[in-house]
């Protein structure tokens, strides 16, 4: 076994089925000193395209070129992944969403996963990339820049990392509001002095070439983030302009039915006037239109769905809100 490239098995518990629940943590140690970057994937079991991103990313890392250490968790919630559900299935506690319960206190499966991830991933790292993306049928396109970290220097570093990822949509995010101070990024950023960013690019169920572009963007983004914090040589990605925004507006079905998009994934990152039709919901029973989904504000597409059956509140569309002060396209920002 290469001592610089290991996979640690972290036992969690034994389920009622007799199966041992465990985490697989990839650990790549560089030849040169440097910080530790943690990459989290699959905290939500339905957001599985990130597994492939992590696999390819790790495949490109060479210890001889690496300064520091990479800890990568491809599947954060293996129980939810086994059911392709966002949350831990059959968890009847009030805390079945792994990304809302860090550092974990109780002995539910979800909270024990959080405890293990906190101990083995969040505590040892100085930087964190937490990846979340679309489930079957929906895709996202944005990178979060946390603005409410305790130290100004860390906010600046997070901005450097977020912009280095190479996605033009930069969400000026208050982790304490969303996804909350008990999300992995929120907890690590506010309590452990970690510099986190929240990456949401891609989704599943689209054409192979489209998904391939998203995967490549994520892999290149991770490598670029490492350059931005000195773990790899070379210049990080710097785009000419970014959309710096503060809030996004979800445009999602309030009724069940078959969702037909009016915008295609190529529109991600482009502007939509208020009143733009995002899609329509057709009853699979009467075959009549039951809902028309319209952008309530002028915005930039950051989430788009394909044609698929939806339940009320399922993932549909979202725009970055352009109607707020201080929001707009511009060059890279420092703070």
């Amino acid at each position: 076994m290469n001592p610089q490239r290991r996979v640690h098995r972290i036992p969690i518990t034994t389920d009622l089925s007799g199966a041992d629940i465990a985490l697989a943590l990839h650990d790549v140690v560089g030849d040169h000193d440097g910080p530790t970057l943690a990459v989290l994937s699959g905290l939500h079991g339905s957001e599985w395209l990130t597994v492939e991103i992590v696999r390819r990313f790790l495949g490109l890392l060479k210890p001889s070129e690496l300064a520091g250490r990479v800890l990568a968790l491809p599947v954060g919630n293996p129980v939810a992944f086994n059911h392709l559900t966002r949350n831990t299935p059959l968890d009847e506690s009030d805390a079945s969403d792994l990304n809302r319960i860090f550092p974990g206190y109780r002995k539910t499966i979800t909270e024990m996963l959080a405890q293990a991830i906190t101990a083995h991933v969040l505590h040892p790292c100085q930087y964190l990339v937490d990846m979340h993306l679309g489930i079957w049928g929906a895709t996202w396109y944005s990178v979060g820049w946390p603005k409410d970290l305790p130290e100004r220097s860390k906010v600046r570093l997070a901005g450097k990392m977020a912009q280095a990822f190479g996605c033009p949509l930069i969400y000026h995010q208050h982790l304490s509001e969303y996804p909350g101070s008990r999300s992995a990024a929120g907890y690590a950023g506010m309590n452990l002095q970690v510099v986190p960013i929240h990456v949401e690019i891609g989704g599943a169920g689209f054409a192979p070439d489209v998904e391939e572009r998203w995967i490549e963007m994520n892999v290149n983004g991770l490598l670029s983030v490492m350059k931005s914090i000195g773990m790899l040589r070379g210049d990080p990605i710097e785009l000419d302009r970014y959309l710096h925004y503060k809030h996004f507006v979800r445009i999602e079905p309030s009724k069940g039915g078959f969702l037909y998009p009016a915008v295609l994934v190529d529109a991600l990152g482009t502007e939509a006037p208020a009143g733009t039709t995002a899609g329509r919901v057709v009853s699979p029973y009467t075959l009549e239109e039951v809902e028309n989904l319209v952008t309530p504000v002028r915005g930039v597409w950051r989430q788009i769905a394909r044609a698929y059956p939806v339940r009320p509140g399922s993932w549909g569309f979202a725009v970055a809100n352009l109607e707020e002060e201080g929001v707009g396209w511009g060059p890279p920002r420092d703070l």
């Binding site: 996979v7 599985w48 597994v51 992944f81 599943a204 054409a207 192979p208 069940g256 699979p284 029973y285």
Partner: protein, 345 residues
């Protein structure tokens, strides 16, 4: 226009009109009424009554759009007979995107419990359709397509009923115009005497086919081709039955086989990666050819290689997606299998 009508439940859809009937099944625990939707396009003149049924398995929702387009494509003023469409046969399973009824009954698979009769939800749905729809049906197409991440490419028909029903079913399958058909003992073998098709043929004498073409998760361009093949196939069958004026569109050559086909599916969980050979429907594959690989999402090591066990035609494919043991991946029809043959369309 002739004075005739199609009666579903207590509702008549008159000649030259479109109708929508919501058949009540039962009240669920959440207080809502479970109903089955039935669309009727009643032709200006009497003729064969063709039923299209979709999503008896809730994960196979790709065919809802096929039926929506088919209903939309048919002009009642130019139609002889009637098109009867149930876009969602199992609303409860669709709501959970699951193949089977998400309950703890003995009969959770709605395509294994016909004609129903017991009070389990699947059996109640089967009974409602059996009592209200099947009595007014002359022929039937029961759709089963791939769930997220997998796609099928075959039209099935039964060979174990009366000679007349078999001949009519085979003629429908061939008329569909798809280049791969599967001749099965549908009533006595697979999917069995209590499947909709098996029951309809054996007990009600209704000729029927099982189109399985397409699946979701492959991108607009590919899926649109499959949708088009299905719509054309339905119209071709309607032309064959004399319901619409339409020249025949036979496939130039049809591969016909007489088995379920060979499932080449993972026995372990992981992320499946199809090889180029495993991505294209109706491609000829060689024995030993690698169709896909399963990689552990934990160790990232390859944990299984899926190979075609025979020379054959690939009639089920998948994309890259997470699989549990036994999940849908590849289906191969053996070219040297008993009765396998290329026939003229």
């Amino acid at each position: 226009m002739t004075n005739w009508a199609v009666r579903i439940g207590t509702a008549d859809t008159l000649a030259g009109a479109r109708g929508f009937i919501s058949l009540p099944v039962t009240t669920k625990l959440d207080g809502s009424l479970l109903t089955i939707p039935v669309h009727v396009v009643c032709g200006a003149e009497p003729g064969p009554r063709l039923a299209l049924i979709s999503t008896l398995h809730g994960g196979e929702w790709f065919s809802i759009e096929i039926l929506r387009r088919a209903v939309d494509a048919v002009d009642p003023s130019r139609l002889r007979g009637a098109l009867i469409a149930i876009p969602v046969g199992n609303p409860e399973a669709l709501n959970h995107f699951s193949r089977n009824m998400p309950d703890d009954s003995d009969e959770p698979d709605l395509n294994r419990c016909w004609p129903g009769g017991k009070t389990w939800l699947s059996e109640q749905i089967a009974r409602v359709i059996a009592e209200n729809v099947l009595p007014v049906v002359d022929c039937l197409a029961d759709y089963h397509v791939g769930p997220w991440g997998s796609a099928m490419g075959v039209v099935s028909y039964g060979t174990d009923g009366s000679a007349d029903i078999v001949a009519k079913s085979e003629a429908m399958a061939r008329a569909f115009g798809y280049p791969c058909i599967r001749a099965l003992h549908r009533s006595s073998g697979f999917p069995g005497p209590r499947s909709l098709g098996g029951y309809a043929a054996a007990k009600l004498g209704i000729p029927n086919i099982g189109p399985s073409i397409g699946g979701p998760g492959f991108g607009d361009e590919t899926e649109e081709v499959w949708l088009g093949e299905n719509i054309q196939g339905i119209l071709n069958v309607m032309g064959h039955l004399g319901m619409v004026d339409r020249p025949k569109h036979p496939a130039s050559r049809i591969f016909r086989f007489h088995t379920r086909g060979i499932r080449v599916v993972p026995s372990v969980g992981g992320i499946i990666f199809p090889e180029p050979a495993g991505r294209t429907l109706l491609r000829e594959v060689q024995a030993g050819e690698v169709l896909g690989r399963v990689v552990s999402p934990y160790s990232f090591q390859e944990v299984q290689v899926l190979k075609s066990p025979v020379d054959g035609i690939l009639f089920g494919v998948c994309r890259q997606y997470p699989v549990r043991p036994g999940d849908w991946a590849f289906f191969v029809a053996e070219t040297a299998g008993e009765g396998s043959e290329w026939v003229d369309g």
